[in-house]
């Protein structure tokens, strides 16, 4: 109430009774939780800045211009991050190029072309793509993508054979350190990391640009259509030109996601390296800022003051880059006043029964490789045909003749209705194709995780023993290794983080939705978005620094479960805040007005009308947040660290994602097998959380809103 009263300078008079006081107290309570978000960002920035001060003064500008990163900081050599900065830019740029095009196509298809009954299942697949944890992407990349990309018969070798004359695909690199470094063709390099990143940013860009496209008023589309435009013309001229800013914003957000992605890149980029333009090649190994942390997490130690500070400066650099990227993107997308995509009452989801809605995604998933292969062939064929037709036309005209009317329509791009119609069809095909491009990797991940992971899960003691071969809850060691300690560890970390993160997140969400139409609210919303955009590895680094400097939690044991809990809780807050806010905003204002008009104080209206109406939505949002952090690796890699057995939260704490990260990178069959098993369990947990609950609550949410 206090925040929204008319600007009139009127002081509430003495007649104010206690309801008004309660109103204010409630507003203040939620405002404080909202302020926590700002507090976190401030502390975050200060810790990174103070910690990296030593490095900033010691290394100076060399940090940005030198490519040498010494093994430790005990001698005089300065730390130079140019390699990592370059690696980050080139992988992200590559990802944006490939992933961006595919995402836009997918978004346009989803929101403009797809038949209604298909929209919900297809969107579901894109969400599924977002739900797969990055450690699973990384492991799948190493096991599968590297397999066909690398090796003597791999795609990379062929690329090199055909395009080897291009510096991008050269197999010999001259570097400053040692000239003529031969490319290994092992499928772990910048190209493969870039490809995986492309896939990983597809859901981000697709869903945001779909939201942007939804905000284009129907009157624009219809105005264009009513002029006789084809579907594609109306999209190009009305939709895309109207939503240009937002779509660019979506692309930039995707870029931000790619810049901060750690674990999958650490798996695939090959580690350490020497890529410097212009001699660099995509086929060489490399390193990004984020993957540097994950690949060298053992080196991040306070014993080496200079080295530690340099790592912090590296973190600061990444934070600043992602911050700038996010600010630009937020301004462009201006999420503040757009209706969320979930707000759209999609008739598709209503028409589909629950079983059907699972049936279609699975069918599409299974068929996607075949359909897209077919489409690729068709597109190539059409393209060839057109070229041929053009050439033929020229020849006919040279002889003074002319083409049959029907053929002219196809060949002549000007003023021909047939051509417009053809382009329309062609673009539609292209969009379907790009959607399939997004879906194929998903199919591959699922098939592999099930075929390779499921048998492992049924191996003796796999879910009972820990990784050192002892039963988790006591008993005779059998020697069969399992992942029980990791399941327990993940469960504990995630549930304790939820205890902190959920209430904070929901209250801050209430503040933003119910009181946040002011400068402070906008600031909090912005900060929540910034916090959400902070690369998770940097979050881990931040907590690690705090723990080291303050001996918080367990003195003398800098890697412990509590630090992991804190990192995850902080990651969770902005996710839950923003989803709760969006869900609460879906509750129609007329409900609030109806209750307020009965003379009920605002805080009671929120608790008795608004929250109950949004309850199932909030629950869904919360569970999504839980699912997100359950799949996180980077923030706990630097804090909880992982363990082969469970010794309580005061010690290094195991987690499923950490098991996958440590064992998934080893080449021996036993480790690989263990990782497939862990991947299966992890995927089942994350997907159950993400979608199982949503399917249960969906109908209730619809009914109550």
């Amino acid at each position: 109430m206090a925040t929204n009263s008319p600007v009139r300078g009127r002081v509430k008079s003495g007649t104010a009774n206690n309801t008004n006081l309660a109103d204010r107290l409630f507003a203040i309570l939620t405002a404080i939780t909202a302020a926590v978000i700002i507090g976190i960002i401030v502390v975050f920035a200060v810790v990174l800045l103070v910690g990296s001060w030593n490095s900033i003064t010691r290394n100076g500008i060399a940090f940005l211009t030198s490519i040498e990163w010494p093994d430790n900081g005990f001698d005089k050599a300065p730390f130079g991050a140019l390699n990592y900065i370059f690696g980050t830019l080139i992988t992200s740029g590559f990802a944006l190029l490939i992933g961006g095009v595919a995402s836009l196509g997918a978004a346009i298809f989803l929101s403009e072309y797809a038949p209604v009954w298909l929209r919900a299942p297809l969107s579901f697949l894109v969400e599924l793509l977002a739900a797969v944890p990055s450690v699973v992407y990384g492991f799948w990349g190493v096991q599968f993508v590297s397999g066909f990309m690398g090796g003597p018969d791999g795609v990379e070798k062929s690329l090199n054979n055909v395009f080897g004359w291009l510096p991008l695909f050269a197999d010999k690199v001259s570097t400053t350190r040692n000239t003529n470094l031969n490319v290994a063709f092992n499928g772990r390099d910048i190209l493969v990391a870039g490809l995986i990143l492309s896939i990983m940013i597809i859901p981000t860009i697709t869903s945001i640009s779909r939201d942007v496209i939804h905000t284009v008023p129907d009157s624009q589309r219809e105005g264009m259509l009513a002029m006789g435009a084809t579907r594609w013309q109306s999209i190009r001229l009305a939709v895309l030109s109207y939503g240009k800013r937002g779509i660019i914003g979506a692309l930039i957000l995707g870029l931000g996601r790619a810049l901060g992605e750690t674990i999958a890149v650490a798996f695939l980029i090959g580690g350490a390296s020497t890529v410097i333009p212009p001699q660099g090649t995509l086929l060489n190994r490399g390193e990004t800022i984020a993957s540097k942390f994950a690949n060298n997490y053992n080196e991040i130690s306070p014993a080496d003051t200079n080295g530690f500070s340099a790592f912090l400066e590296l973190g600061l650099a990444l934070f600043i880059i992602t911050l700038i990227i996010n600010i630009i993107a937020q301004i462009l997308v201006s999420r503040g006043n757009k209706p969320s995509s979930t707000a759209k009452k999609n008739p598709g989801t209503q028409i589909l029964g629950r079983l059907q809605s699972l049936f279609f995604p699975i069918l599409i998933l299974l068929l996607s490789p075949f359909i897209s292969l077919l489409m690729a062939l068709v597109i190539i064929a059409i393209w060839g045909l057109l070229r041929g037709l053009k050439a033929y036309q020229v020849r006919v005209e040279e002889r003074g003749g002319s083409l049959p009317v029907a053929l002219t329509y196809i060949a002549d791009p000007n003023k021909s209705y047939g051509y417009r119609k053809f382009i329309n069809r062609f673009m539609q095909g292209l969009f379907i194709f790009s959607l399939l491009v997004a879906i194929i990797p998903l199919a591959s991940i699922f098939i592999l995780v099930i075929t390779r992971g499921l048998p492992v899960v049924f191996k003796p003691d796999f879910l009972i023993n820990d990784t050192s071969g002892r039963p988790l809850f006591g008993g005779v060691p059998t020697g069969n290794i399992g992942i029980a300690q990791a399941i327990l560890g993940s469960g504990l970390l995630v549930s304790l983080a939820s205890v902190i993160g959920i209430p904070l997140g929901i209250l801050a969400g209430v503040y933003l939705s119910e009181y946040g139409k002011n400068t402070f609210g906008r600031l909090v919303r912005f900060m929540a978005d910034v916090l959400q955009g902070v690369p998770s590895i940097i979050m881990g680094l931040f907590i690690l620094t705090v723990v080291i400097n303050t001996s918080l939690f367990v003195p003398g044991q800098r890697y412990n479960g509590w630090a992991g809990v804190l990192a995850l809780a902080i990651m969770m807050v902005p996710i839950i805040t923003r989803t709760s806010e969006e869900i609460l905003r879906l509750v129609p204002d007329n409900m609030r007005e109806a209750a307020l008009a009965l003379g009920v104080p605002k805080w009671r209206v929120i608790l008795t009308v608004v929250m109950p109406a949004a309850l199932s939505g909030i629950v869904t949002g919360v569970i999504l947040g839980v699912a997100r952090i359950a799949g996180e690796t980077a923030p706990i890699l630097l804090t909880a660290r992982g363990n082969d057995s469970f010794n309580g939260l005061n010690d290094q704490t195991p987690a499923l994602t950490l098991i996958m990260y440590t064992y998934g990178r080893r080449p021996d069959p036993a480790s690989v097998e263990l990782s497939w098993g862990a991947a299966f369990v992890l995927l089942v947990i994350v997907l159950l959380l993400s979608f199982g609950v949503r399917f249960l609550t969906r109908s209730r949410l619809k009914a109550s809103l």
Partner: protein, 289 residues
């Protein structure tokens, strides 16, 4: 007058005014104030940011009468109505100048906003029942105002529902969701919900625009009944409705800078048969709008 209304609203209003019935069992003290100004609006200006939505409005709205507000869309009719229970507070960056007095008390200064809203009820354009049961919808207001006794609540629900002519339709299904009712029933339920907190004034913002003809007629009849006990202010875009169902009519028009102005106020009959202002005449004869 002021003391009277204050004192009786401090006691739970139901203890005194429960006996309102459709037949119009009008209390002695009620009849006395019929026709005297209930709401006095003086030199009212209202701004959304820099945009002036209402300019210099002065009017007195009589007690226990139906006053309709008509005018083309965009002339600030709803904005004006929403000032009376300060729903306008909900829109950020707005500014009010001038005075609105309820029984002589300035609603911006002297009445706490939550109290004001329990004295000035509102019915909205689109029926907006809560996603709760029919019973809980009507009982929501009284519950929030501290009535806990089941018996008392049952009584209030029944009286209010009878008052809003909806009791017969809902008495057998009080515990199903209000969302299951038809649009017209939902709107009458909303009226019952508003009546349940025993307001003195009921504001109606185009209450029939989303309803079918039969529901419209029912609601108009209901309004004429409620007039005995409540001061009703209704915004409508349907001029015939204003002509049929109101005692007084005020006409809003848009100035060149898009600010809304009150061009004429008077007995409904006079506005429709013998308007003083030329714009009113043009409007009521349908030359535009």
């Amino acid at each position: 007058m002021k003391e009277l209304s204050e004192s009786f609203s401090r006691v739970t209003p139901f203890q005194i005014r429960t006996a309102v019935s459709p037949a119009g069992a009008v209390k002695a003290f009620d009849a006395a104030d019929a026709g005297v100004p209930k709401l006095e609006i003086q030199n009212l200006n209202f701004y959304y940011g820099k945009f002036q939505a209402l300019r210099n409005i002065t009017v007195k709205i009589p007690s226990r009468r139906i006053t309709s507000i008509i005018g083309p869309s965009g002339t600030g009719k709803s904005t004006f109505l929403r000032l009376f229970n300060r729903m306008s507070d909900l829109v950020p960056d707005t500014r009010v100048e001038g005075q609105v007095r309820l029984d002589g008390q300035d609603i911006f200064d002297s009445i706490e906003v939550v109290r004001l809203r329990s004295r000035v009820g509102m019915v909205f354009q689109k029926p907006n029942p809560f996603p709760k049961s029919i019973y809980d919808n009507i009982a929501y207001g009284p519950r929030m105002h501290g009535i806990k006794s089941k018996k008392q609540l049952d009584e209030i629900v029944e009286t209010s529902a009878r008052c809003a002519y909806i009791w017969d339709e809902i008495k057998d299904k009080l515990h199903i969701s209000a969302m299951a009712l038809s649009g017209g029933q939902q709107q009458r339920l909303c009226i019952a919900r508003a009546i349940a907190v025993q307001p003195e004034v009921i504001l109606m913002d185009e209450p029939c625009s989303a309803l079918d003809p039969i529901s419209t007629i029912k609601i108009e009849e209901l309004m004429l009944q409620l007039r005995n006990n409540y001061t009703i202010v209704i915004v409508t875009h349907n001029m015939q409705q204003a002509a049929r169902a109101s005692d007084y009519t005020s006409v809003f028009m848009m100035a060149p800078d898009r600010a809304g102005e009150l061009v004429e106020f008077g007995p409904t009959k006079q506005i429709f048969t013998n308007p003083k202002d030329e714009r009113t005449e043009q409007y009521v004869t349908g030359r535009f709008g």
